[in-house]
Amino acid sequence: MARPETLKQAVQPSPLHALIAQTQLSPSHLPNLHALALQVQHNLQFQHSWTALRVHTHSPLTNEPLPRPLLAGLPPKRLYVHPDEQIALLKTAERTRKARKRAGDSSDALEIKAAPEREWILPTRLSEKWTLRRLSDVFAGTSLVPPEAEESETVTDRPANPWRSTKRVVLATVSPDSTVVYYIVQDGVVKPRQN
């Protein structure tokens, strides 16, 4: 029995399914890897309010294909503050607070201003096995800061953060139940944050 066109489908495809179905998957990588990137992109965009998300299939440095499609995007607020930068930010905030107080402002709050920075995201599945070599290959293809997305409407000529001197990617691990966890992986021995 043919289904009348006017009826709605019994089961609507999920938004994620629709996104993957709509997107033109890149021919340079396996479809499952590209779909994985789209899944993480969807999660970041709608659950963590990231903006300017974009899938990179080729390295901005060498233009070679990346080991797998990577994402780049802008978080709503700063994702990572290096402890040394944190100290500098606190000092600046303290100075401005004192200056405000002298000017007769009643508010005594310490305002720390750390503008969000674009981040690389490496989508992975929990069932995968990784090696140091593969991780190193991923870092070889990434730049220090992801290139600005073309469609980005945010201000682009912000001076590069002088504290950002090591490469980092956000490791996004997707579990079979579609939970996504995010870990920051830095290239090199970088001291931990003082949470």
Binding site: K129, L132, R133, S136, T173, Y183, Q186, K191, N195
Partner: protein, 387 residues
């Protein structure tokens, strides 16, 4: 060096103390060969995260290098307190103190010498040329004048020079030594007894009973005289006019013995061409993690065993007594597969205790860039992103 179970903890602690006292932050421009963190970036971009504790070298006996590391049944030990503090102060090596007191062997809160080294620690010291490994059993036999026993290990570098008759003791010397032990034991027992008597008299005097003691002794002496009255015919001299309990104590005294805690004669510190073992072997489990250990050590980090945090090493930016650790490090082979679940677990545990999880290994393809054969280790720090 003799494996003498030296339990004199007071001396040991005193020897270590100077390095533990927080030294004033005096700008010492002529710092001894401290491994300088290799930062090829300019500040403020120094993200290597190293604030190596600079301790001003306290006045302590200098330890000549290379110094011996004792190998006993494939474990590596340091027995000399000066060497232990030297290791800690100048070579970022902590090791683990494992020595306990023979008559309180179950207490394991405060442990002393010897210091046990990880095979990685022993190897890194030997590679840097500041130490050599001595087969303790053969060295001991050699020094005590035993026969040359050198089992042919598969290691080709074993120096089989154990022929010397060393400082073997003759029978007379040994008897003399035992006599000396007895003499010391008696002297000690006398001292104890003397103290005991003094205390007794003091207490009795305080209670006003000192005259009773006199009475007791004066009363006891005639008894003794009566008892031995018949014997005085047989023996020339009547018993000495000492108190009988004293005589009894004197007889008891003969039973006291001292147990020497060191070998005799004291063995000299071995110098180089004595039964030197090859580099500590890298068993398969250690081989993969060793490059990361060496890399972090060369950057001036202190490392301790990491079992408590489920990793190979906990990595400290300075002396562990003064700093919290920064990293939970796990060494891996370059092509060794790991589960992402381990990364998630390690990263989350590390972040929970204000540390970063560190994985690293040696890149066999990278061109040699390390200075002094430090190798091409590469490391990745992992922290929870907070999303």
């Amino acid at each position: 060096m003799a494996p003498s179970v030296e339990t004199n903890k007071a001396t040991f602690n005193a020897a270590l103390l100077p390095s533990f006292t927080p030294a004033p932050e005096s700008p010492a421009p002529t710092e001894p060969a401290e491994p300088v963190p290799s930062t090829n970036r300019s500040s403020p971009a120094d993200h290597s995260g190293i604030e190596v504790a600079k301790t001003t070298p306290a006045t302590s006996p200098s330890v000549p290098e290379p110094f011996p590391i004792s190998c006993i049944s494939n474990r590596y030990f340091v027995f000399d307190p000066n060497t232990i503090s030297h290791l800690r102060r100048n070579h970022n090596i902590c090791g683990v103190l494992i020595g306990t007191i023979p008559n309180l062997s179950s207490q394991n809160v405060f442990l002393g010498v010897p210091l046990q080294l990880l095979p990685e620690e022993a190897r890194v010291l030997v590679e840097r040329g500041v130490a050599f490994v001595v087969d303790e059993v053969e060295g001991h036999k050699w020094f005590l004048g035993g026969q040359a026993v050198s089992t042919v290990d598969d290691g080709k570098d074993v120096v089989k020079s154990i022929k010397g008759n060393g400082t073997r003791m003759s029978r007379e010397e040994r008897l003399k030594w035992l006599e000396e032990c007895d003499r010391q034991g008696r002297a000690r027992a006398h001292a104890v007894l003397h103290e005991k008597r003094k205390n007794t008299e003091k207490v009795l005097k305080e209670k006003g009973l000192s005259h009773k003691l006199e009475d007791m002794t004066s009363a006891a002496t005639p008894d003794l005289a009566e008892d031995t009255g018949g014997d005085s015919l047989l023996f020339d001299a009547p018993p000495a006019p000492t108190r009988p309990e004293a005589a009894k104590d004197e007889r008891m005294l003969a039973l006291h013995h001292t147990t020497p805690t060191t070998s005799y004669p004291p063995l000299p510190v071995p110098t180089l061409p004595v039964s030197v073992l090859p580099l500590p072997k890298l068993t398969s489990s250690i081989a993969n993690r060793y490059p990361l250990f060496r890399h972090l050590h060369s950057q001036g980090y202190f490392q301790m065993p990491g079992l408590r945090f489920g990793c190979h090493y906990t990595v400290y930016p300075g002396d562990p007594l003064r700093f919290h650790s920064h990293f939970l490090a796990t060494g891996l082979g370059w092509d060794e597969e790991f589960d992402l679940l381990d990364i998630v677990g390690g990263g989350r545990l590390g972040t929970g205790v204000k540390k970063a999880y560190l994985i690293g290994g040696e890149d066999p393809d990278a061109e040699v860039q390390g200075v002094g054969g430090v190798g091409n280790a590469r490391a990745f720090s992992i922290e929870w992103a907070g999303l």
